[in-house]
Amino acid sequence: MEESLIEDAEIQNKLEVAPALISVHPSQKSVVVAVGSDLRVFDLLENCPVTLVDESDGPSRKDSIRAIRYGASGKLFVSAGDDKLVKIWSAESWHCLNTICSEKRVSAVAISRDDSYVCYADKFGVVWVVELDGIMEGKVLPSKKGAQLLSHYCSIITSLEFSPNGQYILSADRDFKIRVTVFPKKPLEGAHEIQSFCLGHTEFITCTAFVSSPELSQGYLMSGSGDSTVRLWDIKSGSLLDTCEVSILAGHGESNESESLAQVTVTDICTIPNYAFAAVAIQSFQGIFLLSCDLAAHTLSITKVIKIPGESFIPTSISVSASTRLLWMVSGASNLPGSNHPGFSRVRVISCIESSSILEDEHIPGGTKLLEQLQGKVPIEESVMSAAAEAVRAAMSSLLMKKQYSEEKREFRKRTRNDKKATQ
């Protein structure tokens, strides 16, 4: 019994390690990195660090940020996470325009294509929607509460995404499922019409992104999962068009350990509108996979594996700018267990479409000034980088993998269940 307690405490500890996140403005006007509770912004037009202005008198952020993203127009930016606050920022003035208090921790966010709604998913699988009327005039809105949009029954939603024309909202979860829901005219009354379910993954889903081409502007959906695959879907019917295995290649050449052939988790995918191409990050893999998608033949294939030599750089989050087609990557974690390191991040950039070359630090847009802002001034040792990558991996599996409890442990969990305690 004590053993279980210790184990639970360990899980608790792991849960608190959050991966560093990165997001680049659609036209590369700015870049944001989130590490733990820290949101770091660099303005690439002015070539200077940005100081965020948050006049909301809510509690200050202490818990890790779990989701960040720019709206498609590049005017808004949202951040949210374990502190249960969803913050909507102007991506121009970097004023916080609104703070939404969620009842639960937030795991994913999305902004509707026309910037009029923000949706966020909480730890219980409920997706909430907030209307942003008037926010585009730069008005700071009074604190809002979300209305329930839809729900995945008691699952963790790992990704929220609007379809390219804004007709559907997609929600992916820990239970291998992607739900495609019609985004209604009156979202505050709920989104009840399910268009399809995309079913085929055999492990938790971690990330989703749309691929499109000028001929096929509606595009298809790509999803990454803990089952070592990236899959391509037609969201209208929910049919699985193709499956791309990444496990074997991820292990290839690294070492001959049998472990490298085990299942790997796809941690992030990013795409560029109108390019039938995607960059994919894989857990424990020091580099990036480039996938190409034949939208007419409905096939996905790996076109290139870019390895990052030298330091142990395993991207925890990636983002691509549509205008410059540079791929921005971050590797890092919030507070590491057993270390008083405040959390760190290392940023790297690949020019992946044209030459797939990894840019030297001084050639990154913004140069060392940008790196100082996004990485902080702390020197980063290689051992810390590997420890962070491992901590992020462990945290992710304990959060998303189905737990296989022994009979004994299950009994113990039953006895100590919260709802039972309340009745005693």
């Binding site: 219980f124 409920v126 329930q148 839809l150 729900s151 029954y153 008691c154 699952s155 239970d175 291998f176 499922k177 739900r179 829901t181 019609v182 985004f183 209604p184 005219k185 009354e189 709920g190 989104a191 009840h192 019409e193 399910i194 399809s196 379910f197 079913l199 085929g200 993954h201 055999t202 929910g238 189905k402 737990k403 409890y405 969990r413 269940r417 709802d419 309340a422």
Partner: protein
């Protein structure tokens, strides 16, 4: 199960399984992680194993399941419906392992003892219906769904465990075709009102009229066909019913 235990778990006189060997905990927690196989998608469910008499060439099943009894308990409703709709495939979904095993044995025994090939159209799966309905049924596949005497979950904080809620109705509306019918009944007044209210405020459902209820042969089975219904009737308890139709809808 060896043949010796088999003999005692089945009644000598009827050949049917005895319920007392399949007793289980009264309630299951639908929130906890599962320990049973979950089909990846409806295409991965091999219904030919459930309905062998409906298998045609190439091991393909000739029909799709159309009725689902959610939280079917000991299976009384399925057994009544089996003979009323002999050409319709129906499945019960039940969370409790032992109860599911009991229903399986019960159906197999009925198939064995039936002289004219009845009960070939009903079967049961063990699953958490609150999480995995989309893994079993395609869009618009079902024409009837049943929720008879579901667990009440009285406490406010446990209301999200109720099998009828606005969010779950979205999923039921997805698997039901337009015109399909959802049947609910309970002996707990508060739950009855809750289920009715959820259905009334959902834009994809409308209530059946009194005439429609009167002419539907299934309605009278709601309070008489299941074990729970019979228990309530024996104790002279009141029942609260809500029967709604899935309507066409544009968001």
């Amino acid at each position: 199960m060896d043949s010796e235990t088999k003999q005692t778990t089945f009644s000598k006189s009827t050949g049917l399984p005895r319920k007392r060997f399949y007793r289980a905990r009264a309630h299951s927690n639908p929130l906890s992680d599962s320990h049973f196989p979950i089909p990846t998608s409806p295409a991965h469910v091999d219904f030919s194993l459930h309905f062998p008499k409906f298998v045609e060439a190439e091991n393909k099943i000739s029909k799709k399941v159309e009725f689902a009894d959610i939280g079917c308990g000991f299976g009384g409703l399925l057994i009544s419906l089996a003979t009323l709709f002999p050409d319709t495939l129906m499945i019960g979904m039940e969370l409790r392992d032992k109860v599911t095993e009991y229903v399986k044995e019960r159906i197999l025994a009925l198939r064995r003892t039936s002289s004219d090939g009845q009960y070939e159209n009903i079967s049961v799966v063990r699953t958490n219906s609150m999480k995995y309905i989309p893994n079993y049924f395609e869009k618009g596949q079902l024409s009837k769904m049943f929720f008879l005497f579901p667990d009440p979950h009285f406490k406010e904080k446990n209301h999200r465990r109720r099998v009828i809620s606005t969010h779950l109705l979205d999923e039921y509306a997805y698997v039901l075709r337009a015109g399909g019918i959802i049947y609910t009944i309970t002996d707990v007044e508060e739950l009855g009102e809750w289920m009715k209210a959820c259905l009334e405020k959902h834009p994809m459902f409308e209530s059946l009229t009194q005439e429609e209820l009167d002419s539907d042969p299934v309605v009278e089975l709601l309070c008489s066909a299941t074990e729970e219904g019979q228990k309530v009737a024996r104790n002279g308890g009141q029942t609260f019913r809500a029967v709604f139709r899935r309507i066409a809808y544009v968001s």
